[in-house]
Symmetry: C2
Subunit: 100 residues, 2 copies
């Protein structure tokens, strides 16, 4: 890897963060409520474990999602929007306006 460019554009980091193939859709689902690994695999046709796992990890590291182990019933893990993730919602809404 050659890394030598200073980020000229402040929005660039955030943009890169959401630029994976599956991240926008994962984020979109997370807006509607907590999401789970296998659920996403089912919700996103043509996706795969590896990609979803990597996307979830990166969204978590970027502090857009928070990972929680739910210690009840069928013991599982869920990902929900962080505070920062929630702050992104109005931006998505605006993007949708410009899209349509």
């Amino acid at each position: 890897m050659e890394e030598n460019n200073i980020p000229e554009c402040p929005a660039e980091g955030l943009l890169k963060l959401l630029s994976g193939k599956w991240k926008p859709q994962i984020f979109r689902h997370a807006v509607d409520g907590p999401v789970r690994f296998n659920q996403l695999l089912r919700l996103l046709p043509n996706s795969n474990k590896q990609s979803i796992a990597v996307a979830l990890k990166e969204l978590e590291e970027a502090d857009l999602l928070v990972k929680t182990t739910v210690r009840l019933k069928p013991l599982h893990i869920e990902y929900r929007l962080s505070e920062r993730g929630n702050a992104m919602i109005p931006i998505f809404r605006q993007l949708e306006l410009v899209s349509g």
Copy 2:
């Protein structure tokens, strides 16, 4: 190429559009005024003709930039923000807020 996913997320297209390595920076410069091919090559260290050419073409096809041939003085081509491009500016501003 296997293409079979319907875009579940309305913001996805726009996001993908701005997700290239050079597009955010090109867009950023275009906000400050019309940009030109060789100018961008100089402004963006470590970039290259090919990548800039492709990025400009895609931004134009996406109707974010408008390409104009300026028939005066040293006959050149410039790219300026389209109406849709201008509509993106407030979104970039918001992205910068969430970033910082």
